[in-house]
Symmetry: C2
Subunit: 198 residues, 2 copies
Amino acid sequence: MTYTTGILIFDKLEELDAIGPWEVFTMAAEVRGSGKVVTISQHGGMVKCAKGLRIEADHSFETAPPLDIILVPGGMGTRTEVDNKAVIDWIAKVAPGCTWVTSVCTGSMLLIEAGPARGKRVTTHWAFVETLRERGGAAEVVDDMRFVRDGNVVSSAGVSAGIDMSLWLIGQTDSPAFARDAQKRIEYDPAPPYTAAV
Amino acid sequence: MTYTTGILIFDKLEELDAIGPWEVFTMAAEVRGSGKVVTISQHGGMVKCAKGLRIEADHSFETAPPLDIILVPGGMGTRTEVDNKAVIDWIAKVAPGCTWVTSVCTGSMLLIEAGPARGKRVTTHWAFVETLRERGGAAEVVDDMRFVRDGNVVSSAGVSAGIDMSLWLIGQTDSPAFARDAQKRIEYDPAPPYTAAV
C-alpha cells in the first residue's frame, strides 16, 4: 500500500511520542518499498522538543502533502497547542481526509478539541486520564489500554505506547505478518529490566 | 547523581536507536532534578538520520562537555563511521573518562573499532551478529540478549533494545526503584500487538 503518514510536531512535544511511531512507519515504508512519512509543523523549520531535542520539520501546514494517516503526539506542548487555533483548525481540516487519525499520550486532547475524537472512546497518558475526563468531549477516557480504537480514531496511552499502536496500525493497513516483520527489524522484543521487585 | 550523558549522532543513524535512550536518560534527569543529556556530532549542526529525520546536534567534538556516559547508536551510518578516523579517535579519546560506555544496535562495531569493547562480550542487531563475528575484535558476539554488560561496556541488541538497556543503566547509576519510576513515566508497559500468530 502506498500512503503518506504525517506526524505533527510542535515545541515541547515528547520526543519518544513522535519518534517511536516514526521508526515503525518509516521501517514499514522501507520494507514495503512505498509510502512516505513526513514531519509537519505549523510554520516549518525547527521544533524544540520537551526534553530539548531539536528536530527540523519536513513541511509547514502550507507545504504539507495530502495525508492518509495523521499522528498527533503528546508532551507538555499540548497544553499550549490545544489553545492554538491554527493547529486545531489544521487538524480539523486535514483529519476528515485521512483513513486513520491517531494520537499518542496527551495528543488525544488535541484530537478531541479539533473534532475527530469528540464523542469517541480515547486513551491518554495514565497521569493525564483524570484531567482529560474533567475536560470532557470524549465519550470515555479509558485508562487501562495501550491504545484504543473507535472508528478510524486510534489513541495511544503514554509515550512508548505509540510503538504498540503504530505496529497495530501497519497490521491493519498491510497485514499482521507484515507488522511482525517490521517489529523484528526494530528488534521489538521488549524486556523491561526491573519489572519484578528488586 | 549529577552526570552528563552524551549521545553520538551521525548521518544515517537509526532514529529510535538514539531517541529511545534519549527519552529514558532525559526523563531520568528531569525526575532526579540533575544531570543532562546532549547530542554530539563530529562537526555539530544538522544530522540526517537513516529514515530521514533531521536532528540538530547540541555540540561538535570540539565543544562537547566532559561525559560520564557515552552512547553510540547504530544504523546504516555505522558502516561509514567505522572508517571515519575522526569519529573513532574521538570515541577512543572520550571513552576512558566515562563511567559507562554504551551502544545500541550496530554501534557496538564502533566501540570495538575504537577500543573500549575490544576483547569484550558484546551484542548487536540480530541481522548483524554474523557480520560482527566475522569482523572480529570482540571476545564474543552474543545473539540472544537484550543487552550485554562486560565491565563498564554495555551493548544493546537492535533499535528498540536501547530502551531496555538505558532503563537498566539508570537502575545502576541511581536505583532500580528510580528506574521503575522513569519507566512508569514513559508508560513502558510494552504489549506488541501481533506477538501471537494471527
